[in-house]
């Protein structure tokens, strides 16, 4: 399951637009995988590492 899928499982109300504006998932192609580069959602809190494990 990708980071995107895990976040959508937690917050199914998120839209594609959210991931192009207030949330940025990023992968720098350095072998470290996907990560949350920006989380500025006005109501939903940033998921914890435990929730994304």
């Amino acid at each position: 399951m990708t980071l995107y899928d895990k976040i959508m499982t937690l917050y199914s109300s998120l839209t594609e637009q959210d991931f192009l504006t207030v949330i940025t998932l990023q992968n720098d192609s350095d072998g470290k995988g996907d990560y949350i580069a920006k989380w500025e959602h006005p109501t939903l809190p940033r998921p914890t590492d435990e929730e994304l494990a």
Binding site: L3, D5, F19, L20, T24, L25, Q26, N27, D28, S29
Partner: protein, 186 residues
């Protein structure tokens, strides 16, 4: 007026000086170059970096995730400023303004994709959103003028796609590429 250095067809090289602070280079038929009285560095083609890099092996891109494109090959890199082995980034060694262009491609596109220029690790300019399904591949381009300080500033090419799964970008010098050149000194 201007101080003028002329290559004549009769007397060879001649010089005519004044105190305008403007320099002109001329040939037997007229003025060729005027260097105005301003601060800064006059650029010539030999010290204006240019590069063109492309992808030879596809990058895996998760749904909804901005992913850096690995560009493993170069068509040219006049000042050795593009890193095609580790960080896949352009770090020019001359301060100034550069025209930067990028293009990305994924075959299976039921939703959309876009190319994006990242500067110093953060998104800088977003390109065209391509959203039509096409079996031959969907492609997005991004183009912008970027200022570089000539030492630490760098740019990278990223892609975003929301097709519902993880897909590889398509490779090729004509398909997924990143290029740029200096257009004005600092």
């Amino acid at each position: 007026m201007a101080s003028i250095i002329t290559a004549t067809t009769s007397s060879g090289l001649t010089q005519q000086a004044d105190n305008s602070g403007v320099l002109q280079l001329a040939s037997g038929t007229g003025n060729l170059v005027t260097v105005p009285s301003v601060t800064g560095t006059a650029m010539v083609s030999g010290n204006m970096p240019a590069f063109s890099a492309y992808q030879t092996s596809g990058t895996s891109v998760s749904n909804g995730t901005f992913t850096k494109i690995a560009l493993q090959a170069e068509e040219f890199d006049t000042a050795n400023c593009f890193d095609s082995t580790t960080n896949y980034r352009f770090t020019p060694n001359v301060a100034g303004y550069y025209q930067i262009n990028g293009c990305v491609n994924i075959s299976t596109a039921s939703q959309g994709l876009l190319a994006s220029i990242y500067k110093n690790g953060s998104e800088y300019k977003r390109g065209v959103w391509f959203g039509n399904a096409s079996s031959i591949g969907n492609q997005s381009i991004v183009s912008s003028i970027v200022y570089f300080n000539g030492s630490t500033d760098y740019v990278e090419l990223y892609i975003y796609q929301n097709q519902g799964g993880t897909y590889n970008t398509n490779s090729g010098s004509n398909i997924t590429y990143f290029n740029g050149c200096m257009i004005r000194g600092a």
